[in-house]
């Protein structure tokens, strides 16, 4: 299962993007059932690009909710174009996803 789900909808010149990433976003302040602190594990950057150009970059800390969601909009894309998103977390893990603009 891809970790990034995107909905990119174009209306006129503007494309509205919503993305949902599956990630624990552990804050480092929560204890597991045995009482031990769960170490922080969160996405640090999430970059959206269109035609290989970044259109929106999120820098996130541990206060972003589990399975994070972000919504933004940008200009200059057309229906059928591909939007790409890549995240990297504080443990060095990463994933990339794409979506067709509808």
């Amino acid at each position: 299962m891809p970790s990034i789900r995107m909905k990119a909808i174009s209306s006129g010149d503007t494309t509205e993007v919503q993305a949902l990433v599956q990630h624990p976003m552990d804050s480092g302040f929560v204890k597991d059932p045995s009482g031990a602190l769960i170490p922080p594990h969160h996405i640090e950057t999430l970059v959206f690009s269109h035609n290989d150009k970044p259109v929106f970059t999120a820098y996130w800390g541990p206060a972003v909710s589990k399975d994070p969601y972000v919504k933004f909009a940008f200009k200059g894309a057309a229906k059928g174009d591909t939007l790409q998103a890549t995240w990297i977390d504080n443990m060095g893990k990463t994933d990339t996803g794409t979506a067709k603009i509808a």
Partner: protein
């Protein structure tokens, strides 16, 4: 004459002292149950009751609408579809076990099984299907079970609960036991299901708005922010028990299946909204 009159008085007195329980009539119960909630929440459209706290609290509804722009259960829906469509080792499918291939049938569960005399929930039917096809049953509270029921519920969205109580004394007895479970106080806190979800419905308990009992199961399975994950009806029942400081029963315990039967019957006519999201 005098003796007879005396006897009559005595009998009347006895019946006054200990009023016999009225003969069970689920349909009378359902009408009274629903009109209680319709009166308590006069501004809530009847079909909205499947949206739980969001039906009765405007600020919560606004947050919910924002969350529903990209519901956190979507990954589970995809996982559920994949799991539902994957064949068992023997080549058969889940769809072989259900009416209409399992499409749009969520609102007809739980059912009374005339063969075993037991209440069978959708989750139970899914595991029964697996076992009859030589597969191991799924864990009941979360994970793939929640994903499959999410997928099956989605195909029933908008279809009103349609629970049947067949003319079988065992079905009526199961219904009555479910009703007793719903209204009886339990746990060290002495809370019944009804304490929170009838009398307390719409009110705030700690941070939460208590959902009305009417339609409360229509949204399951749910993604709860509190869990940060999906959960089934069993997961909710066991956590409800623990919250009242009662030792939770095992998932799919007869008592849980029966209270699900009762509650779902009470909600006949309220459309399925699941899968749902809750705080």
């Amino acid at each position: 004459m005098i003796v007879r009159r005396l006897l009559a008085v005595l009998i009347a007195g006895a019946s006054l002292g200990a009023a016999p329980a009225p003969a069970p009539n689920p349909e009378t119960d359902r009408v009274a149950f629903q009109s209680y909630f319709f009166t308590k929440f006069p501004n809530v459209k009847h079909e909205e009751f499947g949206n739980g706290p969001y039906a009765v609290n405007a600020p919560m509804r606004k947050q919910w609408e924002e969350i529903m722009q990209f519901p956190p259960y979507e990954p589970a829906l995809d996982e559920g579809r994949e799991a539902f469509e994957a064949p068992f080792a023997n080549g058969r499918h889940y769809s072989d076990c259900f009416d209409n291939g399992g499409d749009g049938i969520r609102q007809t569960y739980p059912r009374f099984d005339t063969k075993t005399g037991e209440i069978i929930t959708l989750d139970g039917a899914i595991n029964a299907c697996r076992v009859s096809n030589g597969e191991k049953p799924l864990p009941l509270q979360t994970g793939v079970m929640a994903s499959i029921t999410a997928f099956m519920s989605e195909s029933s969205r908008g279809k009103p609960f349609d629970i049947k109580i067949p003319a079988d004394p065992r079905a009526l007895a199961a219904y009555e036991r479910g009703k007793e479970f719903f209204y009886a106080r339990k746990g060290q806190l002495g809370f019944a299901c009804a304490s929170c979800h009838v009398q307390g419905a719409g009110e705030r308990l700690r941070g939460d708005i208590l959902a009305p009992a009417l339609g409360i199961l229509a949204a399951f399975p749910i993604y709860r922010s509190d869990w940060g994950a999906m959960g089934t009806i069993d997961r909710r029942f066991t956590s409800c028990s623990a919250q009242t400081r009662a030792v939770p029963l095992p998932a799919q315990a007869a008592a849980y299946r029966e209270v699900e039967y009762f509650l779902s019957y009470m909600s006949n006519g309220i459309p399925i909204t699941g899968p749902g999201t809750r705080p």
